[in-house]
């Protein structure tokens, strides 16, 4: 599997570390049940999945990757900081 890093270009997956679901948000610490759910009860989707990868043996950027978990086809890769900025901007506009 190869990932198209927005900075470095196409690189082997061995340069990256997988973190997991990119859509999980840190819940309110005062709600332990939500916390338990966010930490332990993760979905395991067959198909499109938004996930975080760290390009540690490269440009050291966090990336948000949309990947098909069945075929490893990758649809989009973006810098996670840019992605979170956009998400925050969207949230601010809403």
């Amino acid at each position: 599997m190869r990932i198209q890093c927005p900075f470095c270009g196409e690189r082997d997956s061995s340069e990256f570390t997988y973190l997991g679901d990119a859509t999980v948000r840190r819940p309110d610490p005062s709600a332990p049940e939500q916390y338990f759910e966010a930490v332990y009860l993760r979905d395991n989707p067959a198909g499109r999945h938004e996930e975080l990868w760290y390009h540690g043996f490269g440009c050291r950027s966090w990336l948000r990757v949309t990947r098909d978990t069945r075929t490893h086809e990758i649809f989009t890769v973006e810098m996670y900081n840019d992605a979170t900025t956009e998400t925050n901007q969207e949230a601010a506009r809403a």
């Binding site: 900075f7 470095c8 270009g9 690189r11 082997d12 061995s14 340069e15 043996f57 490269g58 440009c59 050291r60 950027s61 810098m79």
Partner: protein
């Protein structure tokens, strides 16, 4: 009895490492005279830093993993807003002057003794390197000025390509953390053994 003062002498990272297959296919030279610093743009200061580097050093920082050089100073982009800066014929004050010029816009840290840089040239340089890095080093893909922050035989490394030598052979430089120089050298010398290795400055 008076204690004698311990004399510390500089020691190049690759100086005592063995050459197991002498030859002339791959020529290596340690760049131990380079001054090296890491430069990280402070948050939101990327554009201001680009402008300052243009004014002070006459260097145009192009986007992406590229090496931009002028007047013996080179900015080697390793990530978004991150560079390794090398200074030729470095004096002790070269990183201080870099901090004076850019310190308000970037975090600068002296790496002259932390990173070891090896120049790899000769007719078989590309063949020797492409066995140990997961990077396409084809001359049309990895051109002069290209940079790759990557991994070489499990050792984190920054590789860049310089202009070809007068005989038309590709010239590369590769930076690794000094403490990993021996591991890296073992991988490179194994990879280059079939072509023969010569170290400049050694018999």
């Amino acid at each position: 009895m008076a204690h004698s003062q311990i004399e510390l002498t500089p020691r190049a990272a690759f100086a005592d490492l063995p050459i197991t297959a002498p030859g002339s296919g791959v020529v290596v030279q340690e760049r131990d005279e380079l001054g090296i610093a890491s430069v990280l743009a402070r948050r939101g200061q990327h554009e201001a830093l680009t402008k300052r580097v243009r004014e002070r050093f006459g260097i145009e920082l192009s986007p992406g993993p590229r090496r931009s050089a002028a007047g013996g100073c080179a900015f080697i982009a390793t990530g978004p807003g991150a560079w390794i800066v090398t200074v030729e014929r470095a004096s002790n004050g070269c990183v201080t002057s870099l901090t004076d010029a850019l310190g308000d816009l970037a975090a600068i840290s002296d790496q002259s003794d932390g990173q070891a840089v090896l120049r790899v040239s000769g007719p078989k340089a590309r063949e020797a390197l492409c066995k140990i890095v997961p990077i396409d080093l084809h001359p049309r893909i990895f051109r002069s000025g290209a940079v790759a922050a990557t991994v070489a035989a499990h050792v984190g490394a920054t590789l860049w390509r310089l202009d070809d030598d007068p005989s038309g052979h590709a010239v590369f430089e590769i930076a690794v953390f000094r403490s990993l120089a021996e591991s890296f050298w073992r991988a490179l010398s194994e990879s280059a053994a079939e072509f023969g290795v010569r170290m400049n400055g050694r018999g």
